[in-house]
Symmetry: C2
């Protein structure tokens, strides 16, 4: 039966490792479609346009905002990030499950627009580890780093608005949890009403 | 952190194969505790008292009902079945996840008493298959069989009150779905509030 795909939002404090987790999840579940965000921040070493992000300038980003082309967008650490609406909607219509790996501000906006989406909060194994991961990333200034850590505090409180929380301690286990959440959500009665009605109709012919 | 276990209710039409599914699930997840029901129906070949069921007579069963010793009980096909309350509550308190493999009447009563429980509806792959499985069981009279099939019709409609529906077509896949549902439910924010508050508190010290 053709049915609409699920929108799966992976979010959490910066440095929780959601990017790594997300790329492992996609390797294990190639049927999932990752939404590629548009950003005005400069590419980090190794990042490819159209794969990690679509890189653009502020002027063009603001034009896209005006045209209503984003499902959500936000300014984070002086850069803009946005999720292109058309890409997500088309894949969902085709029955594909789409992953958004976005920051907490963005997730909040998606929650307003798409209450049916699945919201998963990624937690760092502990706070020391959170600091370490940010330091190791090593491509940021002191100011940018301080801003990130301060922001993490606020962000941790956001998890109460999420459906699931996954602690990213052991990568393999965290990925298994994400996979399980996706499989479980596909089994939800509320997501399968049409299919179940068909089965039920057959049953009633006995 | 010690936290309360989850009560997981596996139910569905008779002949959907929930018994087989349940025993495979328990092999794969030995940390799960199966609640053993009390019944007045005679043992089938191979069934051991205290493992498959606690077998008892009607008089004793009714005494247990009067004493309020059941989480749920029901009369199905002229036999009584009940879930002993004490066993379930003690294991949940110890943080163990408890599985109830019960009929739909029973599940309805558990839903009234334990709205936090997880309700999983097991569907037969198709209705022909449902008939075949009942026939193959082969330990029943014609009357008993007809009663079961008629009842299945009513039962299929019950699934809309459940959280999840799992079609028992390929055993291995169906078991994987059950495992995933359990793992996903363990990640739910609403089931981890205490743990998350601890993590959040640590975060706020930065």
């Amino acid at each position: 039966m053709s049915k609409k795909g699920m929108l799966i939002v992976l979010s959490g404090p910066s440095g929780a490792g959601k990017g790594t987790l997300c790329s492992y999840l996609l390797k294990r579940r190639p049927e999932l479609v990752l939404s590629v965000s548009v950003t005005t921040r400069p590419p980090r070493p190794g990042e490819v346009n159209g794969v990690s992000y679509y890189f653009t300038d502020e002027e063009n980003f603001k034009k896209m905002v005006e045209k209503g082309e984003f499902l959500e967008w936000a300014k984070v650490y002086n850069n803009y990030y946005g999720t292109p609406k058309k890409f997500v909607e088309e894949h969902l219509k085709q029955g594909k499950d789409v992953i958004l790996e976005i920051d907490i501000q963005g997730a909040r906006k998606v929650k307003e627009n798409c209450p049916d989406a699945i919201f998963i909060f990624i937690l760092p194994p502990d706070i020391e580890e959170l600091k370490n991961r940010i330091i190791k990333r090593g491509s940021e200034s002191k100011e940018s780093f301080d801003l990130r850590v301060k922001s993490a505090e606020e962000e941790l409180k956001a998890m109460y608005d999420y459906d699931y929380a996954v602690v990213n301690d052991v990568l393999e286990e965290a990925v298994k949890k994400l996979e399980s959440i996706i499989i479980a959500e596909r089994c939800k009665v509320e997501r399968n009403k049409e299919l179940l009605e068909l089965v039920c109709k057959e049953g009633c012919k006995i």
